[in-house]
């Protein structure tokens, strides 16, 4: 059992959990993820590690209540427990001093970009961060990102904060400027990562994206998380989750992410009915 030491609401539908997990905190590196299970009937939910603290033995997870399971996760409170938590999984971000690095985070993806930006900054790189959201209400981690970036650019779709633009706009301007950008790291909605990769492609700037396909075990056993990278199937759980954005087939990824959309509603309805005590299945 893994205790929730802190729960915070960061934005509508975006929640943060700080969890007691000393063995994971001891080993976690930027770019890695964990898999959790809330209870006996729970799904295995993969979440990128948003932060870790080796001294306190805690890890921080951020999630958006989008599906049935993440909505249920959002109902857990400080002091409650997760049944299962395993990690750290996946390969860590390769961090070294290379010069100027642009870290792009979109929506909830800003959270996993944060430890990477921090790592890049600690390694002595110049870090320029671009973070974007639909509007200012759902923009997270602004201060944290500012603290580890030499320059922070904010964009919102509706212009309620920062520039009214998509993250690719300021990115393109940076690429056109006289800055010598050595690497772009982008985490966010698949469509955003796809367009970031398209933006940097003509410039030939290495671009790392972090993929979040549907996953079961997270250790390479099921192959459900296979993604097409450079026309070769890779398992995001063990070969990734980070890949060369210029080689990823984002369309296949988006299609595969839709596989269980129909089932989501059924499970949400079931969970809601169960919570309200109207379930008639006689088995729960």
């Amino acid at each position: 059992m893994y205790k929730i030491l802190l729960k915070q609401q960061l934005a509508p539908n975006v929640k943060l959990l700080e969890i007691e997990a000393p063995l994971i905190a001891r080993k976690a590196q930027p770019g890695q993820f964990v898999i959790l299970r809330m209870n006996e009937n729970g799904e295995r939910i993969p979440l990128t590690i948003a932060d870790f603290n080796r001294e306190t033995g805690t890890i921080t997870l951020l999630f958006q209540e989008v599906g049935a399971s993440t909505s249920e996760l959002g109902l857990l409170n400080t002091g409650e427990f997760l049944l299962d938590l395993v990690g750290p999984l996946g390969k860590a971000t390769h961090i070294e001093k290379i010069g100027t690095v642009v870290c792009v985070g979109g929506g909830i993806g800003i959270a996993p970009v944060y430890p990477i930006a921090r790592g890049m900054e600690e390694a002595g790189n110049e870090v320029i961060s671009i973070i974007g959201a639909r509007s200012k209400d759902i923009l997270i981690y602004e201060e944290k990102m500012a603290a580890v970036s030499n320059e922070l650019i904010i964009t919102t779709d509706d212009g309620s904060k920062g520039r009214k633009a998509l993250v690719t706009e300021p990115l393109k301007e940076l690429l056109d400027s006289d800055k010598r950008i050595r690497l772009v790291v982008a985490i966010g909605p698949v469509i955003m990562m796809k367009f970031v990769a398209e933006t940097t492609r003509p410039y030939g700037i290495p671009t790392i994206v972090s993929l979040n396909p549907i996953m079961v075990d997270g250790t390479g056993m099921c192959g459900g998380c296979r993604v097409l990278v450079g026309n070769e199937n890779k398992f995001a759980c063990v070969d990734g989750p980070e890949f060369d954005g210029h080689k990823v087939d984002f369309n296949v990824l988006m299609s595969r992410q839709r596989m269980y959309k129909l089932y989501e509603n059924e499970h949400s309805k079931y969970s809601a009915e169960k919570r309200e005590g109207v379930c008639k299945c006689h088995s729960c």
Binding site: T219, Y260, Y263
Partner: protein, 470 residues
């Protein structure tokens, strides 16, 4: 007394009923049936059956006890060497092992050794067997076991009985490995049989730590250098699914058998939405492959509501690697067999979902390296199977996580750990390995046999180590 030439049949669920549920298909002997079957055993002095058993259960001795109705002694006899008898009684390919060597098999059917083992184990469990923890002294040497499948559990049981302090590390949230994620509930009940036998090991004193990925949470070197383990056994199995490398394998509706079975068995997707993990089964399902895993996938798909399920296999029926009993059950349940058929592409619609499996017919040519006749494509035989789900069950390779993070551990070209077949010793001192991670995908009992040899070798190694340090 005339000898009965056939085994006493084991009661089973009716076909029409069982394809609608996930309950166990075979129901096990009654006391009367068990005694009657035990009567058939000739109690051969030479016990040829034993040489067919990878863990060398004293078969005539336990059968004699069953015959006498002394089931406590029967199970005690089996458990001297086998920690998982209820599992083995169900999933061992006895026809190729103990029963193959039974004298009766020369004239008729062998004694139903597997069925009797299962009966003895089930009876003991249902009665609530008393298991005494083996005390291990404070000075007991520590053994880490990586992977809680059949190989690891066997090593754990054997070494705990010898007084070692044994800790098993499992990456998933429940122990059992392939017994939990791979073999379906209707062949091997999870709570009632697998977890019960594992709980017996816990009662014996074995510690099991789940959610621990070795290679990440801990490395093998850390276990030995920092966590104080004197020896390590690696039994991480064959956990990396192979795909066919044909077009369309990333369409929605294409599963590896590992994923399909894991969703259903470990995650209990057959209880969706009560269980939160979904599984998608269309109306028509093709399962590619001819082994036990393919049969499991096909029969699972049927129970999840598929209207038509076909096995697609590139050789003929004679070469099917699955156990006869599994093929028999599959046919009985209405699984169709597209033999001498090889897939060439998965076809999809614009939304990215499977709409068919393009195949070619095969003919058998000259024998290949495996001694089986090599299938060759029949000219102009291309056709499309009308399916909306494809399950790929063409085998698994070794998961590289442990090997790639352990210094000095040698692997072969396929990525399997190189270990001595007689004792499991690897290239790294104090590290032993066995089961599918060494041999490639095989059977539960072969993994247990490897575990047994490794346990004996680890015991010898640790005795030697102790003497050195005195």
């Amino acid at each position: 007394m005339s000898l009965l030439l056939t085994k006493h049949p084991m009661p089973e669920q009716e076909v029409t009923a069982r394809v609608e549920n996930f309950d166990e298909v075979t129901l096990g002997y009654t006391l009367e049936l068990a005694k009657a079957e035990a009567e058939r055993c000739l109690q051969c002095k030479t016990a040829p059956c034993r040489k067919g058993c990878p863990v060398e259960v004293d078969i005539p001795a336990f059968i004699k006890k069953v015959k006498a109705g002394d089931l406590d002694s029967a199970i005690a006899k089996i458990k001297e060497v086998n920690s998982l008898p209820a599992v083995c009684g169900r999933v061992c390919p006895q026809e190729e092992q103990c029963e193959k060597y039974c004298v009766l098999a020369k004239k008729g059917e062998a004694v139903g050794i597997g069925r009797l083992e299962r009966y003895a184990a089930d009876t003991a469990r249902n009665k609530g067997e008393a298991i005494t923890a083996i005390e291990c002294s404070a000075a007991a040497q520590k053994v880490a076991i990586i992977g809680s499948g059949p190989a690891g559990l066997t090593v754990a049981g054997d070494l705990a009985k010898k007084g070692y302090k044994v800790t098993v590390f499992e990456a998933l949230h429940l122990p059992g490995g392939v017994l939990m994620y791979g073999i379906p509930e209707f062949r091997l009940p999870k709570d009632e049989v697998v977890q019960a036998e594992i709980n017996n090991l816990r009662k014996l004193g074995v510690e099991i730590i789940v959610n621990a990925v070795i290679g990440s949470t801990f490395t093998v070197d850390e276990l030995m250098e920092k966590e104080g383990f004197d020896a390590v056994f690696i039994g991480t199995g064959a956990g990396l699914p192979h795909f066919m490398e044909i077009p369309g394998e990333n369409l929605n509706g294409v599963y590896s058998a590992n994923e399909f079975l894991t969703r259903c068995n470990l995650m209990k997707a057959y209880r969706f939405p009560q269980s939160a993990t979904p599984i998608h089964v269309g109306k028509r399902v093709a399962v590619v492959g001819g082994g036990n895993v393919a049969m499991d996938g096909a029969r699972t798909a049927l129970r999840l509501g598929a209207e038509q399920v076909s096995i697609v296999y590139r050789r003929s029926e004679k070469e099917l690697p699955a156990r006869l009993e599994e093929v028999h059950h599959a046919k009985e349940e209405g699984i169709e067999f597209q033999l001498l058929t090889a897939p060439t592409a998965v076809l999809g619609n614009v939304d990215g979902w499977v709409i068919g499996l393009q195949c070619v017919r095969m003919e058998l040519g000259e024998p290949d390296a495996s001694g089986r006749r090599r299938p060759v494509e029949a000219p102009n035989s291309e056709f499309v199977l009308d399916v909306d789900t494809v399950i790929i069950a063409i085998g698994q390779g070794p998961n590289p996580l442990v090997q790639s993070t352990t210094k000095g551990l040698k692997t072969n070209k396929k990525g399997n750990i190189i270990a001595d077949i007689d004792n499991g010793a690897t290239s790294k001192p104090g590290v032993f390995a066995g089961g599918d991670i060494v041999t490639g995908a095989a059977t539960v009992i072969l993994a247990m046999g490897a575990g047994k040899k490794a346990a004996a070798a680890i015991d010898t190694y640790l005795q030697g180590k102790k003497e050195c340090s005195l």
